[in-house]
Symmetry: C2
Subunit: 349 residues, 2 copies
């Protein structure tokens, strides 16, 4: 990277954080309005999940995440000439879908922490987690039906496709836990469902809100899909080599759980001696200790899994940006989406 490129990246990063902040500010009132429609006790549980209330029902930090998905909807719409108010409802819908999947996935995966707080099931029990996730999913659909009359059918199909992808991806992820090895292709399909499908839908929904033709909607969908795959690759790299202070996860957390993440699948797929040793380590019944986690990380690197994931993330990011050419997008719009893409895919690799 040249010095000029580095300055460019830094200013794009500042721009991206500002875009995310504006998107959160636009989306939050719509989210609150939706959650307010729920009956108690589900309303309070949902408000806890969004950080608006604490466990005892008092106001809390209000941290409901980076708002990356709503930002992609709003930035895509704006880049294609739509005023933000046309895209606020789909922006809220994708955050509701995302948070539905977080509430249910945390329960299914047994995860007890999210955004530095206890997860819904850990505080309120399994039952409230099932019910609250269901409620958020219904609200997502209803926001679309109520607030985007013109787009209703196309937007709904876009969201349902993403949701079927999410379910398929989570199903595959859970099935992988019971297996010693998974192929790289099926691991990529899992990531396509679990992560990329909703990001693809976000960008397509923004394009739909802008009223552009099907071909442009498809290009935005592909942009989101590729950014999503790149995001998952980076997330998987961070799960192995990430800085705890940046990720909030213990170093090697994914290896300790013997997660079949993309770098692991790539390392095993290569057929190298290191890949075979890694597979043997993953087949062991006993829990992995710190030294074995270090060994596993070394084997993934030796087998080329780390380098492949880094290169594939860069390739996907680059192919994603190519999707933006050939659209009627403003130069400013291209910059905004590039800034978000860089933020999503460039986390401390």
């Amino acid at each position: 990277m040249t010095a000029a490129e580095s300055v460019g990246t830094a200013s794009r990063s500042t721009e991206a954080w500002q875009i995310l902040e504006r998107a959160r500010a636009l989306t939050e009132p719509e989210l609150r309005r939706a959650v307010d429609r729920l009956a108690e006790p589900v309303r309070s549980v949902a408000a806890y999940h969004f950080g608006w209330l604490d466990e005892a029902g008092r106001p809390d930090n209000g941290d409901w995440g980076k708002g990356m998905r709503s930002a992609l909807v709003l930035a895509s719409a704006q880049a294609l000439g739509a005023p933000p108010e046309l895209a606020v409802a789909p922006a809220a819908a994708v955050e509701l879908v995302h948070n539905f999947s977080l509430v249910h996935d945390d329960l299914m995966d047994g995860d007890v922490l999210r955004r530095g707080r206890h997860t819904v099931w850990a505080v309120f029990g399994d039952t409230q987690a099932v019910l609250t996730g269901d409620a958020l999913l219904v609200l997502a659909m209803d926001v679309i039906a109520e607030r985007t009359p013109r787009l209703c059918r196309a937007a709904l199909r876009e969201l349902c496709d993403a949701l079927l992808g999410l379910v398929a991806g989570q199903g595959a992820d859970l099935a992988f836990e019971l297996r010693a090895e998974v192929g790289l292709d099926e691991c990529l399909r899992m990531a396509a469902g679990k992560t990329a499908a909703l990001l693809a839908a976000c960008c397509a929904l923004g394009a739909l809100a802008a009223g552009v033709d099907d071909q442009q909607v498809a290009r935005l969908r592909e942009f989101g899909h590729r950014i999503g795959i790149a995001f998952q690759l980076v997330d998987d790299l961070l799960g192995i080599w990430g800085d705890t202070s940046a990720t909030g996860k213990p170093v090697g957390a994914d290896l300790r759980r013997r997660k079949k993440s993309l770098p692991v699948a790539a390392a095993m797929a290569g057929g190298s001696a290191a890949g075979h040793r890694l597979a043997a380590l993953y087949r062991r019944v006993e829990p992995l200790g710190d030294s074995e986690i270090r060994e596993a990380a070394g084997l993934i690197e030796e087998a080329g899994g780390r380098r492949w994931a880094q290169e594939e993330a860069r390739r996907q990011r680059s192919a994603a940006l190519d999707c933006l050419t050939g659209t009627t997008m403003t130069a400013e719009g291209v910059c905004a989406l590039t800034a978000i893409a860089d933020l999503i895919t460039g986390r401390n690799m």
Copy 2:
């Protein structure tokens, strides 16, 4: 009941079973097509729930319930002049919604049997039950979006309202379990959400498919709502005094679980001595034995809970049928809906 009325009721009952059978035959291909879109392993789990596959993935009895909800959609549409093919997609959607709620409710309630088979969570675990319920809910929305382009927005709002009712009703039902007493009003609101909301949506969706005006849609919605309340009252009576061979539930099952059903809430609300003794029995920490269950049933009867529930069910059924007058419904259509209403609300009281 006069002899002539009795013959009329018997022939209406035969007619109702035939209507249900035809509705199931029309709806099933659409349901199978929807479930076939799911990825494994969720597809097989969903197919197990619908009785198409057994636990090992072999063909099974194919019993996915009476199909009461799809029959209400189809009969409402037909009674208002729509050909059935216009209403098949919403009919499949309401069955998908109903079965989503069964899969999640069985998990939340810890119920191990449904339609004479083990429930999804009992066979495949909590995780697959969460995921499969989610998948059925998404399919319901997608069937509406894909197959009813003209109705999409109105149908979706109708379904979402019912779903928010279902979530609120299930939330209240779970909350009631932790309380010694519940008021009759809140118990009726719970039944309105948990049972009546979806039946109301069924009839409204049928009317929407027939393209009638908002006023007629509202009358059909109210018809379904009142039939739903009556259905819940009858179901609650059967949960206390029902014949095991007809209900498939042990006698007094609801009392053993100290369920705050409508006859119980009515008995407690009356302020009678029997009502107070019932409340004291419900407040006890120890499990209720057979003699206490008989005592509780006697107290509910003495406090007027049984009579109130029987009369309220009749009143709701009658008010439901009043909703059909003032519509453009054919006489044949009125008879068909009356037959279904009688079947739903007249079970061996």
